[in-house]
């Protein structure tokens, strides 16, 4: 019940049509106007029921201003009386309704006061949901690549040796297989060690061009420690078309990194090795904790490795039946856990899988 809401919207327009108004009549109309104005002004200053009673006495009581007005109406000529009488009536109604509204407001205020409502009591809460930091990170990565025109694809976690290794140019009995300690289910069936087998599955099923990201869970047979867990999540990217170059790979990944980590980051690409890409590279960005000076998080190097990438090796095209003379392309992959740990300065990967509510609430 604010003052603004109760402000009366009163407007009695005194319109006189086809009448010649006498002096007395005119005096009466002026008087009505004045009473109206003062009734509106007075009502706004009233703060209590006793103030309001004074108001009633002033305007609406038997000896009040409005009653006086009707007394004086007797002096007005018979021709003018109905007209001016109607205006006086409207005034009385309006003053009455000002009074009624004010009375209601004041009474309900009093009711509140009587309840002695303590507004500093806490509100009643509802349960609050949270999204796990890993899926939050993945969502952000997805959004950026969607904007760059990438689609999305997924594949099975239980994979065969062919898709996980062989078709990705890991020959049997090759030391490169040691890079990824593998969980086997049977001789030729395993838990995928990376999301890259989905690359093969996509290329097997459709001709170029291909432009997708591939998120998913992958497994490594490594002892669980603060730095590594037996499973983690990756996002893989694949782009194959005519005329895709290494510069294009760099351009896309730098655009991603600036979007994700901030436009002021510095970056570098350094040679590396993955059997299914050549040339292969790893991308580093300046450590955002120490800004490149060297700290514990970046192992004093000033750089943080954020992803691996490279141009798809022609051997991979042979496995899926793409023409390496016609098409070229790039692939990249990054670890969601690693990115999440870096972003939030979390120093133990296991806490991500512990799902302590006190941890989850922080994101």
């Amino acid at each position: 019940m604010t003052a603004g809401k109760s402000r009366p919207r009163l407007s009695i327009t005194i319109m006189v049509e086809d009448f010649f108004i006498s002096y007395i009549g005119n005096t009466m109309l002026n008087k009505i106007g004045k009473i109206k104005q003062s009734a509106i002004n007075d009502i706004q200053t009233i703060r209590s029921l006793s103030d309001l009673d004074n108001y009633r006495i002033k305007y609406l009581a038997r000896k009040g201003l409005v009653a006086d007005l009707f007394d004086e109406l007797r002096n007005v000529s018979a021709e003018e009386r109905p007209h001016i009488g109607k205006i006086a009536n409207e005034l009385r109604n309006q003053v009455q309704s000002l009074f009624d509204e004010k009375k209601q407001n004041l009474e309900s205020n009093v009711k509140h006061e009587q309840k002695r409502l303590d507004l500093t009591l806490p509100g009643r809460l509802s349960w609050v949901g949270t999204q796990h930091p890993l899926t939050q990170t993945l969502d952000e990565i997805k959004r950026i690549f969607f904007r760059m025109g990438f689609g999305i694809a997924t594949g099975p976690e239980i994979e065969d040796d062919y898709h996980n290794f062989e078709a990705l140019n890991f020959p049997p009995d090759h030391p490169a297989r040691d890079m990824q300690d593998t969980f086997f289910i049977s001789d030729k069936v395993l838990l995928r060690t990376h999301t890259s087998p989905v690359q093969i599955r996509i290329m097997e099923n459709q001709p170029p061009p291909v432009r997708v990201i591939i998120p998913g869970r992958v497994y490594r047979n490594e002892a669980v420690s603060a730095r590594s867990y037996c499973l983690f999540h990756q996002v893989e990217g694949l782009y194959i078309d005519e005329g895709v170059t290494f510069s294009e790979l760099k351009g896309t990944l730098v655009a991603f990194a600036k979007e994700f980590y901030g436009s002021d980051i510095k970056y570098r690409f350094r040679p590396s090795y993955f059997p299914f890409t050549e040339p292969s590279a790893e991308m580093d960005i300046t450590c955002f904790l120490c800004k490149g000076k060297g700290c514990r998080m970046c192992k004093q190097t000033g750089w943080l490795e954020i992803l691996g990438c490279g141009m798809v090796d022609p051997n991979v095209y042979k496995f899926v039946g793409y023409d390496p003379e016609k098409y070229s392309g790039y692939a990249f992959g990054m670890g969601i856990e690693r990115i999440t740990l870096l972003r939030y300065s979390i120093d133990d990967i296991r806490i991500l899988f512990e799902n302590d509510v006190r941890f989850l609430k922080q994101f």
Binding site: D139, G151, I158, V189, C230, F246, P271, L352
Partner: protein, 812 residues
């Protein structure tokens, strides 16, 4: 692998700082993961000479020493009883951090600063063994031998003034697994010459062929076998400089001959093996695959049962080494050894890898052989070892080498197209630039393409130490590496849109957001669990053949158990009100082909699990907490389903059929099984150490997705008013509510807009064994305002049905 800076400097002049060198190596693909300053803890410690010792004017136990370090002299106040002029001592100067404080009970380190001791300035400290962490003697200062060189840093005196680079070498670069290999890369980067040690080997005039023979029966797995014989060697410790080199790179010194083979390995990357000549039957070496399952004891004293395709080094009678992996105990170099055969062979990488995997033995030698060593370095390596042995262990090298190399492995020749190179890299390099870049890494231009009509084809010859370079693309990578990845400009083509069928991924994202909106917290859990847990719900478990541990031997067939672990963890940490969910996969070993199978015999399915425990709503100052019950969960699920556009939902009660839940409801959507709601069994709760009720719902994502009403269609808003009527129906206590509701629905038909059960009463007001169910009904006709008569008729119809079909009555 560990690379020593001092060792590296033997082969290349380096003027750049260790961190610059590390940067260069990293940027050429040899990632320096760590730089270790071995002598770092002795910064500001020097070997000094005590020149003068005087009594302290104010303290009996202190003396004032004058110590010379090089040309400088320092005044040092010392409290040791054994300090005398002329001694060589270890001195820490201001700024040095003394590793252990002998006046501190924990021996914490402390840093020296200039101090006044009883009024006399002291500019350093003469240290004890204990303080330097070189021994436990605290009684006095450490006195160095009189012939020690004064003035040099202590680290240098201790031979630990070295910087070690921990280099991560990718499996494609066996050529970089040695100091010469790294020097070669650094030389290419910095345009410096690499100084390969000159070998001047003195041989006697006895031809080796009179003393030893080598017979290679399997030249596929052993393309080259080179050996030398050295007589009259003296086995002992190797010199200190060599021991220091080996220790710095992490190799334990054994004896001079073994140390020399390891030294040559770390120098040039080629593994050697030394046999005791006298222990080799008939002095005859035969290289062949093992023929029978015999036992063989390797150098590490382990007995191994040989497998038939293992390549072995044998003498006339027995196996003496697992080729390329580990030698045998019987021909090991011992103190009594006087004659040795040094083996320098080249083995087939795949054969060595199979062997190493089969026996589970991973050695410095096997690591290099399986990645591919240089077949043309064997003679150099064996000569280098013989030279060092003659220098260090004495003896005489017999004339010549045995070298079985029936088919020389020559340098590969590879064609490179200029346009292909530039197209792939996004560059525009000329033929000259390309060949200059490649020559940095020893790849030589042998045909400049002038005869080629398009002048576009170049031909290169690749040194045999680079087995990874086999194809055009491999050359392109070398070009990019030499050019510098950072020098390739960025480019981004206009984005092209190709959309793939990724509806299910979007659906999961939507589902996740809706569940979070219902006030639930998302968890992510391990998909591997104990077989005993996994087999609670199914026998179609996917088992891992090589699990990390027993509790991670199976892939989960349900999301519930891992959720119970999380609930236990949180209750254990004082959080008893939980609303958690997970969206993840479950896995089955399934021999019936179904839609979720990609790999034959295995299926994966996306599920969502919702778990609730504790109170029904957050506590507030004017509400008494109430524990959750199954109807809270049923309500949650219905609310969620409404939000995700699911209808025609049926809940079917079950009991005692599910392994994890005690009772609950299965959920059908459009007649299709979609999952269940349940109360976790008390036996399961105690298995997970949970002492409060847990309610769960596990749903199949694909069923939810398939059944959602896809198209939203506008229906005009009702024009006629709703009539509300309440009715209290009294029926047998045991009658299911669902039965009453289906009678109301079928009796009222289309005009029943909505109905809600608002009270269930059992008590004095009605007969025993009965319950009263109060419903609020909302009736409305679509095309007119209902008359009183119409409404009464409908109500009567409901009442009749209740009476007739359910034997119920209406409570007035």
């Amino acid at each position: 692998m560990r690379i020593s800076l001092n060792w590296l400097k033997q082969y290349i002049d380096l003027t750049i700082s260790p961190s610059e060198l590390a940067h260069h190596l990293t940027m050429v693909g040899l990632e320096v993961e760590n730089i270790e300053d071995l002598g770092g803890k002795y910064n500001n410690f020097f070997v000094g000479k005590v020149l003068k010792v005087e009594k302290h004017p104010k303290a009996d136990k202190l003396v004032i020493c004058e110590v010379g370090i090089g040309k400088q002299q320092y005044q040092i106040v010392c409290g040791a009883p054994n300090v005398t002029p002329g001694q060589k001592v270890a001195v820490g100067l201001i700024g040095a951090t003394v590793p252990r404080n002998q006046h501190d009970s924990d021996g914490k380190p402390f840093t020296l600063s200039q101090v006044k001791l009883r009024g006399v300035d002291s500019y350093g400290m003469i240290c004890s063994e204990y303080e330097l962490e070189l021994g436990e003697d605290k009684e006095g200062i450490m006195v160095l031998p009189p012939d020690s060189v004064g003035g040099i840093p202590l680290a240098e005196y201790l031979h630990i003034d070295d910087i070690i680079f921990e280099v991560g070498i990718t499996p494609n670069r066996p050529d970089a697994m040695s100091h010469l290999g790294i020097a070669r890369e650094v030389g290419a980067l910095l345009n410096r010459e690499v100084m390969i040690p000159k070998i001047e080997l003195k041989e006697n005039n006895e031809p080796i062929s009179n003393f030893a023979t080598v017979d290679v029966l399997d030249s596929v797995n052993c393309p080259r076998y080179t050996a030398r014989v050295i007589m009259d060697v003296e086995i002992g410790q190797s010199p200190e400089w060599m021991q220091n080199r080996l220790k710095a790179v992490g190799i334990r010194p054994v004896n001079n001959v073994v140390d020399i083979t390891n030294y040559v390995l770390m120098e040039c990357g080629h593994p050697l093996h030394a046999f005791d000549y006298d222990k080799i039957s008939d002095h005859k070496i035969i290289v062949k695959c093992a023929t029978k399952k015999e036992s063989f004891t390797t150098l590490d004293h382990k007995v191994r049962i040989l497998q038939s395709d293992t390549l072995m080094i044998c003498d006339a009678k027995l196996p003496i080494a697992i080729a390329g992996v580990m030698g045998g105990e019987s021909t090991e170099i011992s103190d009594a050894t006087t004659k040795i055969i040094i083996e320098s062979a080249y083995f087939n990488p795949r054969s060595i890898r199979r062997t190493s995997k089969y026996y589970g033995v991973n050695t410095d030698a096997s690591q290099r052989f399986e990645r591919g060593t240089d077949p043309n370095i064997t003679a150099w390596a064996v000569d280098r070892a013989a030279q060092l042995i003659n220098e260090i262990c004495g003896g005489e090298t017999l004339q010549g080498r045995v070298d079985v190399y029936p088919e020389r492995i020559s340098e590969k020749e590879i064609n490179l197209r200029i346009k292909t190179t530039n197209d792939l890299l996004g560059l525009s390099l000329s033929a000259t630039t390309i060949s200059e870049l490649l020559s940095k890494f020893g790849v030589q231009l042998i045909d400049d393409g002038s005869k080629d009509s398009a002048k576009e084809l170049l031909r290169f010859k690749v040194p045999t130490f680079r087995p990874d370079i086999e194809r055009e693309i491999d050359l392109i990578e070398e070009i990019a590496r030499a050019y510098g990845y950072d020098n390739i400009k960025l480019k981004m083509s206009s984005s092209v849109h190709f959309l793939y069928d990724h509806h299910s991924f979007e659906y999961i994202d939507e589902l996740r957001q809706q569940i979070i909106g219902r006030g639930m917290m998302e968890v992510v859990t391990n998909s591997m669990q104990d077989v005993s847990v996994a087999s609670l719900t199914t026998d179609k478990i996917v088992k891992i053949a090589n699990p990390i541990s027993k509790d991670m031997e199976a892939l989960r067939p349900s999301l519930i158990p891992s959720m119970l672990d999380i609930i236990h963890h949180n209750i254990d940490h004082g959080i008893a009100n939980l609303r958690l969910f997970e969206i993840g996969k479950v896995y089955f070993n399934d021999h019936i082909t179904n839609e979720f199978q990609v790999i034959k015999g295995y299926s994966e399915e996306d599920r969502v699990v919702l778990a609730f425990s504790g109170n029904a709503y957050p506590s507030a100052w004017d509400q008494k907490p109430r524990s959750l019950d199954v109807f809270d969960i049923k309500g949650e699920i219905l609310t969620l389903f409404e939000k995700i556009s699911l209808d025609n939902i049926k809940f079917i009660p079950y009991s005692n059929t599910d392994a994890l839940t005690e009772y609950g409801l299965t959920i059908e959507i459009n007649g299709e099984y979609a999952g269940l709601i349940g109360v976790i069994r008390s036996t399961i709760l105690s298995k997970f150490n949970i002492e409060q009720d847990v309610f769960i719902s596990e749903l199949i994502v694909s069923v939810l997705e398939r059944n959602r009403s896809k198209k939203k269609q506008f229906k005009s808003l009702p024009k006629f008013p709703i009539v509300a009527r309440d009715i209290a129906i009294v029926v047998d206590d045991g009658l299911e509510i669902e039965k009453i509701e289906s009678e109301i629905i079928s009796a009222a038909g289309k005009i029943l807009n909505k109905f809600q059960l608002f009270d269930v009463y059992i008590g004095d007001q009605i007969s025993p064994g009965k319950k009263s169910c109060a419903y609020g009904l909302e009736l409305r006709a679509e095309d007119h305002t209902m008359t009183q008569d119409e409404i009464d008729k409908v109500m009567q119809k409901i009442i009749d049905r209740i009476q007739y079909n359910l034997n119920g009555t209406i409570r007035k």
